[in-house]
Symmetry: C2
Subunit: 127 residues, 2 copies
């Protein structure tokens, strides 16, 4: 049986390949994101929107910590949002920022996500 | 021997009591915060400044995930910054926000910290 870090590595690879037909193997049907039940459909829409906003989006895990039910990851992004991102006028500039995110797994799938993106660090790169 | 969650719980209790003379038992002399070596002295100054900015600051762990060397925590804050906080004019309003934070431990002490505070959620409560 795969451990959570193994599953999570495959999940990130799925995102980086934009292999949307495989997302169902990693994300539960009733997934909650930041305490809102957005469901697998909403989760997929969010990811597709992310790639529209940031065509060169790439998920890179810098640090992964996990136990039997939860996994926390510090993701590092080097990317180029084409327009506004998090309300900020990035407009095609290359930025570097992190996301500290927690996942709850049920039956080997992501069932709840609590994410915080480092908006302050993006602002420092713009102003 | 205490596990990291035990040590971490005692560390948060130390912060909540503002027992600054005990901080040395939890935080390493050469501690790094968001990739800057601020040291125990700088760490203490940062915490004291936090309590000046937010007199009713209280650290509450909502979710803790750990392995043998790293601990990740989602902290939840309900507090009242008196003036500007993260560049935002909070000015005595009560706000609720989270911090997703990772800690590396060496010799049972916090040696590196990578923190992201949910600034976007604070903005939503102000504007």
């Amino acid at each position: 049986m795969n451990t959570l870090p193994d599953i999570y590595r495959d999940y990130l690879e799925c995102l980086n390949r934009q292999a949307w037909n495989e997302l169902q193997f990693f994300v539960a049907e009733e997934v909650c994101y930041n305490d809102q039940e957005i469901g697998l459909t909403g989760y997929l829409s969010m990811l597709k929107q992310n790639y529209q906003d940031i065509p060169d989006l790439y998920f890179e895990a810098e640090l992964v910590v996990s136990d039997s039910s939860y996994l926390a990851c510090r993701l590092m992004f080097n990317c180029t949002p084409v327009g506004t991102f998090m309300g900020l006028p990035v407009n095609g500039r290359k930025i570097r920022f992190s996301e500290n995110v927690f996942y709850e797994f049920r039956n080997h799938k992501i069932s709840r996500v609590w994410s915080v993106i480092d908006k302050a660090t993006i602002e420092q790169q713009l102003y």
